[in-house]
Symmetry: C2
Amino acid sequence: MQSRMITLSQNEIPKKWYNALPDLPRPLDPPLHPGTREPIGPEALTPLFPMGLIEQEVSSQRWIDIPEEVMDILALWRPTPMFRAVGLEKALGTPAKIFYKYEGTSPAGSHKPNTAVAQAYYNKKENVKRIATETGAGQWGSALSFACSLFGIECMVYMVRISFDQKPYRKSLINTWGANVVPSPSNLTAAGRAALEKDPECSGSLGLAISEAVEDAAGREDTKYALGSVLNHVLLHQSIIGQECIKQMASVGEYPDVVVGCHGGGSNYAGLTLPFLPDKLGGKNIRFVAVEPKSCPSLTEGKYEYDVGDVAGMTPLMMMYTLGHDFMPAPIHAGGLRYHGGAPIVSNLIHDGIMEAISVEQKQIFESAVLFARTEGHIPAPESAHAIHGAVAEALKCKESGESKTILFGLSGHGHFDMGAYDAYFSGRM
Amino acid sequence: MQSRMITLSQNEIPKKWYNALPDLPRPLDPPLHPGTREPIGPEALTPLFPMGLIEQEVSSQRWIDIPEEVMDILALWRPTPMFRAVGLEKALGTPAKIFYKYEGTSPAGSHKPNTAVAQAYYNKKENVKRIATETGAGQWGSALSFACSLFGIECMVYMVRISFDQKPYRKSLINTWGANVVPSPSNLTAAGRAALEKDPECSGSLGLAISEAVEDAAGREDTKYALGSVLNHVLLHQSIIGQECIKQMASVGEYPDVVVGCHGGGSNYAGLTLPFLPDKLGGKNIRFVAVEPKSCPSLTEGKYEYDVGDVAGMTPLMMMYTLGHDFMPAPIHAGGLRYHGGAPIVSNLIHDGIMEAISVEQKQIFESAVLFARTEGHIPAPESAHAIHGAVAEALKCKESGESKTILFGLSGHGHFDMGAYDAYFSGRM
């Protein structure tokens, strides 16, 4: 019988992060000052980030040691399991082999703690007392709250209002880890007040919440800012996912033909795929597919150009696929994918044809989510269900062609906080 | 540095269940017919259970093979991780070593799927088309829904009304796995209608919901009944927990001085502790502590006598610690511990002084839950937090005495569906 779970021992957690920057065939375009549009150096970021993270943001080192204190806390849930999706394969009648990497066993239920712990550590090391951040669906805010709780750092979360209202239990989770959370737009910042003045009912966006958190951090001596996706150092920290995948697949004698991840800001997708990049650049036949919501199609319908990361235009300009920093995505349930741009590294690789992207309607996503839940058991987060859908689409192509490809996808989180979205799907309100 | 996670490989999942029945120093008193009070034989259970489970209920075999089809599905989340609670130890300043076994990584987020999968399998094997069950907080109902979904069996869940209202997302989870769920008391059964007639606002109890599910199953040819705790075969299936613990502790050269579990019907507690029983009976110095809610203190304040398992008195009489089958516990948040009796095997061992029990107030439980969340990261279910509290109490005793004991407790599930309870705690509504 085919074993479903593919485990690693606690000694096999990767001890280094993989940094894709030195491997990119075309270097990243430099970030620009949002006012002058002149290239900025790392020092421009010091009001927002500790030096340890800024160094990683621009590092040309391919492998970066994971500090022992970070390893120690990652070991609260890592290594995470990989599974062969035998139930899903059978239901689809596909000759393809489907594997998935499951990040839902972390304390916050998603992949976000991988970078939250690293970021909290580097802030702690430089004596930062307080961190401000934003959160969309709540995964990042709760992950950072968890990490700050373990390192004894105060944490302030600006949560996109629509999710704050739709997902009250994410807020409770943040509180349980001892952090503060307010709905964004809030009246605590100029950016928030401006948005509320324009529209008192504003349901918020990730870009707006970023403006609020950045403003908070920039205005207080004791506070730094933390971002849960997009930036190079965040993708770096998530590389632990793909590295574990490589070991796990090798342990059963497999290697993927295609790797599929959901894409919002890019951290989960990149963490899963980038560790395979050197193989691809070395000539290996492997495809990387990013799956995004039809209602927020930055990679598939956005422009590849310089844009800021937030609504108020306080962050540096970065070269990326963007729908425009004032784009207000529809209130889909995959709140973690409602971001106007893609990570610069992912955008670079998509633009150069090294990675691919597709976009999918919400209803189709939930069809795949329910099929998965009923054949594999695990309840996916709506975000993660985008990856399932992408994998199902690849498996059905194999069914048509008769090819027995090996598909790997990332199940970035569980859906136990998202059951209201499933209710909406079952009741036809979608 | 002390490694936190203690993993097992997928090949180390136990391949047999441990049956404590032949090892009990004093055999169980026989179950009696609720009308005649005469001992009943296994055949009396055939309207409710498939023969495969009835045989296990009375088996005198110490080790029972786990069927390959069950092993295959257990591998969706097993082996589960064990952790050294270094953060908690540090916060308590105790010389004790604390370990915990975490069952929250299962698809339903608790230990319940361990027996749900086995029960669904034996029903499927005997061509049962539909299973009726009850659920308190929703853990069991969702676990059985999950298992039935994978085996293609229809599932009907009677859910205690207070939890049905307090935890709507458990209901959504049950629906996502394709099962039906109604609040209990319902008007679908005579037992439910009688309760509603007496009190239209009746918030229900596990004992009442059992009556409804038993009545449903007894009245339909195509339907059997399933119970998530109490019975010998349920405890048998959970023995996989303690067996994994023994291997995990041995892998780091440890053995517990005390094992602590929360106790509702007894399945989690027994699954954790019983595999250590042969060592204790062989002279090993090891203690077993059951922790129950002060508001439902069956083991600590109940009587050791024959009682039925349900409100309507339809189940056999079993010798156990009981608060009386019509006891209506206060609506505490640990809904899974609101049961009037203890498992016969656990009751037998408590009565004979081989196991111990304590009861704790809800507020103290949440104090320990929050301390744990902020030091260990994982958010405990309110039920599981009883075990944390018991372990903390043992660790504090060590602090006083200076003893460096080894404490193992069972973290039977995550609290991601219970955040409303944390809200109540933080807002002082507890």
